[in-house]
Symmetry: C3
Subunit: 228 residues, 3 copies
């Protein structure tokens, strides 16, 4: 039940601490922007903006930490993780038309967060002794979970699940899978972890650029046109 | 805070391990089918189908494990538990018209999952030192929680809460309550646990067959006809 | 990973145990009433009423306990905490028109729950070693989290996030912040904790009386009138 602390391998220390912290904060900031923008579109007040920014930015990591038993969860023990979404919420509160205007840039930054979080989530799950498949799943949960919570709180169909949105799960799946293969091969380094994050990032940017979508259920693609 | 490992009683080992595993996987598979089918009806893509299958099949057990502090949660440490919903998602992806056609059979299988999960959930909660009432509640959470998560993710009113759906909570309540009474009486065995699961299963099948529903609030049954 | 038990400071024992328990149960009862009433309005059956009462009353505390790693969560180990919402659900089932009629009183009682829970949630988070900002956030989560779960389960936009509802977050923020300042100053006593809870309570009651609302995003207050 209690996680045996001594078996934690510190593969998670891929980057110098301050680099890791900076990368995490960038990812948290851009995820929080996407939450704050949805809150503005939904006509929420300043607290709704702050709550949705926090939930989007930290939700994936919180769920990962709960599942692996890493409590208190890091989102509440690292002050920077918690304060960054409030900064993003403040930016959105005052400058949302400007942020909307650079939405393409926000989506690109969001793709950076996706790449980074699927890698760090996978590594942390592995550090806690989970197997390869579970580590990949938790990497994807870290990257995509916050967006699902954001959409549920805002009463929207989660965009992760919608067929008419560009693929989000595949880039995370590829990035996370690269990490577990690299770990198994004993080749996970700062360089290869960065390559994994970049691969996920590039795939997501290409999906946005070329409108890549995933197939719906067999037989269904040609039918039910009324819903399309 | 830390759960005292030495007090865990192994009443949870009711069945030989391979029998228990097989029963669990059957329950997980049929729950996953119901999640996948809803995803198809909601026009989701292949990843939406997989996510909803996973969430429906494993959500109840994950919430139970989080509440009792059994981390890392078993859904992520037992490879079979995680992979089975992906198999169900694949089946639904290719064969959803056929699966819809045998929907009555799927509902019967789902009732099997209900019976099994309310029993194993109650036993596991008791193993972790929770009292009788809490163990019953966690048995019901294990059996019904995944379906609630499924409906929330798909933006549907949870069918567990709807008055116009056949009762789901009562069969789980009866099965879980039988287990805690049997534990208190010192008579929980493979045979009596099976009987508890079968009782919940039969009650659910009868509820489906005869359209048993639970009452709405007093005074309300005759009024507000516009919503009925 | 494992929480170091020996660092838990028992500042949480602000009141004599039976007083604390009585206050907690009052807060749980009134939160459960609000969940039950929404279930009736949504035309749910008796089980939907019970589930929504439980989720509203206990959801905030459960999320707090999960985040700080206090498992098994207290909502499932303290029998009174679990049974009280069922009593509230029974009251709502039989007497919902009467409870609706005294809705103003229910809202006042709910404000009492808000005041109490933001204080006890903050203190418990601090006892588990979390920093001041995180403790404030967890006090707010304890006070407001159950209501968010209630609204998500009932397919409503969370009222916490809606600009057209009286402020709920600010009273909790003020009460929780008073607690961490008092802790830092070494002045947290039964009297000052009560004063913090009362401050949150009074602010919420005033917000309800005078219709205090929080601002929406800059530039937006005068525009988009079609949504107002």
């Amino acid at each position: 039940m209690t996680f045996p602390v001594e078996t934690v391998r510190v593969t998670s220390q891929l980057f110098p601490p301050h680099v890791q912290q900076a990368l995490d904060l960038i990812g948290i900031f851009v995820f929080a922007l996407s939450g704050g923008l949805l809150a503005v579109r939904k006509n929420m007040d300043i607290f709704g903006i702050a709550v949705l920014a926090e939930a989007t930015a930290l939700g994936g990591g919180v769920m990962r930490d709960l599942v692996i038993g890493a409590t208190p969860v890091v989102a509440f023990t690292n002050l920077g993780y918690f304060v960054t979404p409030l900064v993003a919420a403040t930016v959105v509160f005052f400058l949302h038309p400007e942020v909307e205007r650079i939405n393409r840039s926000v989506q690109t930054l969001d793709a950076m967060g996706l790449g980074l979080f699927c890698v760090t989530g996978t590594v942390k799950a592995h550090d806690y002794g989970l197997g390869s498949v579970a580590a990949v799943a938790l990497g994807m949960l870290t990257a995509a979970g916050g967006g699902v919570i954001r959409d549920v709180l805002a009463q929207e169909m989660p965009s992760l699940l919608r067929w008419d949105r560009e693929i989000y799960a595949v880039p995370a799946l590829v990035g996370s899978s690269m990490v577990v293969v690299l770990i198994a091969a004993g080749h996970l380094t700062t360089a290869t972890a960065t390559a994994s994050a970049l691969t996920a990032f590039v795939l997501r940017v290409l999906a946005l650029k070329y409108g890549w979508r995933a197939p719906r259920a067999w037989h269904r693609n040609g039918s039910r046109t009324s819903e399309e």
